[in-house]
């Protein structure tokens, strides 16, 4: 328990593990708070807690995920993420070597996104009172002048875009939880999306809103927008890329890939005249090479009432894509 008690061991943990990984002028001051010079304008702020199990999975770990998660939440508002804080809840007996690995991975992820981790906190709970490690990150980012991404602006005729294949993260983590009973070469899509968003915004006007379909997947994101806009979201199954392995894991576990979490994908709504241009902008960026157009927003009519999501299946029929029902999802992020 000594590492979280505020004594010498705590200081040692901070000095030997956290400082080297996150090194920046704010941390070096070793104050109780980070002092930031923020410019005028609009700022976005967000927070997210990460409880994923297992902590390490192909394509990432809880550390990189905790940076990408908050960075992406900020980016979905068009913000350029700048500063993060991190809170760690460690279970007594958690291997230091794992902590080092995770913290280094966080440091690398933060540097890659150009965000500084300016403040942090660590607590240790008794053995059995936690599950290894939980991380919370909070962040702020600046919203550029003139950017106003807001789902209340969705109109009939708008088009729906997605930046890549669906369900990679969820399927990877669920397969990893099976501890060898399902082996795949899948990797999580966990990645920062701020660069991709900046590229879309730089290509010109017409982007209405963005969302990263994490917990609850693409289906939940579309249902949220359908409810907010009161319109019908009509998508085509043929527009969705689903890797054969994601399909396989989904079948084995009885899950629809549309409900699987993504940690490096975005879904966007745009004006019809901007769709081709935004799709090109997405595809020109390394994180959006497999971007596709998945459907349109329509006024409700017979058979497809307002506020719902309908999908034209590969077979040519149509069905509702409902809200996720049933048990709480396993801890995938």
């Amino acid at each position: 328990m000594v590492h979280g008690s505020g004594g010498r061991a705590s200081a040692q943990l901070v000095e030997e593990i956290f400082f080297p990984a996150f090194d920046n002028p704010w941390l070096r001051k070793e104050g109780d708070q980070a002092q930031l010079d923020l410019s005028e304008g609009r700022w976005a702020m967000s927070t997210d807690s990460f409880v994923v199990s297992p902590l390490f999975f192909p394509g990432g770990d809880i550390g990189s995920l905790s940076v990408h998660g908050t960075v992406n939440d900020l980016a979905m508002g068009g913000a350029r993420p700048l500063y993060l804080t991190a809170g760690f809840v460690l279970e007594e007996g958690f291997p230091l070597s794992d902590l080092v690995r995770i913290v280094r991975s966080m440091g690398r992820a933060a540097r890659a996104c150009g965000v500084s981790l300016v403040a942090g906190d660590t607590k240790v709970v008794e053995r059995g009172k936690g599950d290894g490690l939980y991380i919370n990150t909070s962040g702020i980012g600046r919203i550029p002048e003139g950017v106003d991404l807001d789902p209340s602006g969705i109109r009939p005729g708008d088009e729906i875009l997605i930046s890549g294949p669906v369900g990679d993260h969820g399927a990877t983590v669920l397969a990893a939880r099976e501890e060898g009973r399902i082996t795949t070469s899948l990797r999580s899509d966990s990645a920062p999306l701020d660069g991709l968003v900046a590229a879309m915004l730089a290509s010109g006007p017409g982007l209405v809103c963005l969302r990263d379909p994490t917990r609850g997947g693409v289906a939940s994101t579309l249902n949220e927008w359908a409810r907010i806009s009161g319109l019908c979201f009509e998508i085509e199954e043929s527009g969705l890329l689903i890797r054969p392995e994601v399909r396989g894991v989904s079948e084995l576990l009885g899950i629809d890939p549309l409900y699987l979490a993504n940690e490096g994908r975005l879904v966007g709504v745009c004006r019809p005249e901007a769709a081709d241009r935004l799709l090109s902008a997405l595809r020109a960026h390394p994180s959006g090479r497999e971007a596709t157009r998945i459907g349109r927003v329509e006024k409700g009519r017979q058979g497809r009432p307002d506020g719902c999501v309908r999908m034209k299946t590969l077979m040519g029929g149509t069905r509702t894509v409902d809200w996720l029902l049933g048990d709480p999802l396993p801890r995938i992020c």
Binding site: P244, E245, R247, Q302, R310, M315, G317, R319, G326, D327
Partner: protein, 373 residues
């Protein structure tokens, strides 16, 4: 099989369209129209809706949903007994996830019973329940075993394994039911022109188990896989039989099903279980020799004996049409409370409870006309 494109092969849109064309042609040659075809299994009901197949079928085909959903046919009294077992302080109840939200007779569920102190654990296999018994030697682990012939062999296997390992803290609350008696009950009460036979159940019991359908009831049955092409091909085979006046048991799902079934699985069932004199089905009522009970020899592992609990019959609320829907006499939309009082979040009847239930499938994937969501 190492390549999971195996799934996509049976979802090929081009092949699907050509099968639909063939169905439309065959439908035009039917001696009578429309024909009523029942998909017995909830898995098929689910697939029809998930792949959007229903609206693509020629109008001459009317699909009738069957009762083949293990959670749906479980009467409330059995949920009540499971909750009673879970609330016993000695016990830890191991259950399949789909039964957690099923309401018992007073609206309580196994999920809600957790708040009253019940220790209910979700498992994905019978073996996991057995592992719990080894992990918690001081607790009484009760496995709430449900399902048709598909899930019965694993239950039998863990009972044998528990005896081999001499696990004194493991028992099973057995609720396994049999497909042929349920099918017999339905065919005796409903007029049908054909049946799409179960997929997974048939891997265990084989196609011969349905011989009575053609012999006694003189209607065709085609065992089919759960993929869209499986279903469309099975329908094509059924239409051919109807047009030619044949009533045979055919097998579309030949990649997994053989006439005699899986002898090892059948032997496991036979070893551990015997037919109970009757089983009270939700919707179908008490059917003779339609459920399985643990044999006397394995009585030590029978939770009902160990905890001295009984199952009382509980009737369904009068406004709910579940019984008629499970029998194929009515469809989900014929029910007055479908989508209004009864939704997947507030299920009144059995067919709305399980994801495989007909009402849940129609609600989940349907067009929501008239529904409140």
């Amino acid at each position: 099989m190492s390549d999971l494109r195996y799934i996509e092969a049976f979802r090929d849109p081009l092949l699907g369209r050509s099968l639909l064309d063939a169905l439309a042609l065959a439908a035009g040659r039917l001696p009578r129209s429309p024909v009523r075809i029942m998909e017995f299994c909830g898995g098929h009901t689910h697939a029809f809706h998930r792949f959007g197949l229903l609206e693509l079928l020629p109008p001459e085909i009317r699909m009738v949903h069957g009762p083949g959903c293990p959670v749906c046919v479980l009467p409330k009294g059995r949920i009540d007994t499971a909750i009673e077992l879970a609330l016993d302080k000695r016990a830890m109840l191991a259950v399949y996830g789909d039964v957690l939200r099923v309401p018992g007779s007073h609206g309580t569920t196994l999920m809600k019973s957790r708040a009253r102190g019940a220790d209910v654990r979700t498992v994905v296999s019978a073996m996991e329940a057995l592992t719990l018994a080894e992990t918690f030697p001081d607790r009484e682990i009760v496995f709430f075993a449900i399902g048709f012939e598909t899930t019965t062999p694993p239950t039998a296997a863990v009972i044998l394994e528990a005896r081999r390992r001499n696990l004194r803290n493991f028992s099973v609350f057995a609720n396994h039911v049999l497909t042929p008696p349920a099918m017999e009950a339905i065919l005796s009460g409903t007029t049908l022109d054909g049946v799409i036979g179960p997929s997974h159940v048939s891997t265990v019991i084989g196609t011969r188990a349905y011989d009575f359908v053609s012999r006694t009831h003189k209607i065709p049955l085609v065992v089919a896989g759960f993929e869209p092409l499986d279903i469309l091909l099975a329908l094509r085979m059924l239409l051919s039989q109807i047009a030619e006046g044949r009533a045979e048991v055919e097998n579309e799902y030949a990649r997994a099903v053989v006439p005699e079934g899986n002898p090892r699985s059948l032997a496991l069932i036979e070893r551990v279980f015997e037919r109970a004199s009757f089983f009270e089905w939700r919707g179908l009522g008490a059917l003779p020799r339609s459920g399985l009970a643990i044999r006397e020899e394995f009585g030590f592992f029978d939770a009902q004996r160990r905890f001295s609990v009984e199952v009382s019959p509980v009737s369904d609320p009068g406004i709910c049409e579940c019984g008629e829907i499970l029998k194929g006499a009515k469809g989900p939309r014929d029910c007055r409370i479908f989508g209004t009082l009864c939704t997947p979040d507030t299920p009144v009847g059995a067919c709305m409870v399980s994801a495989e239930g007909a009402c849940a499938a129609v609600f989940h994937y349907g067009d929501r006309e008239g529904a409140v969501s």
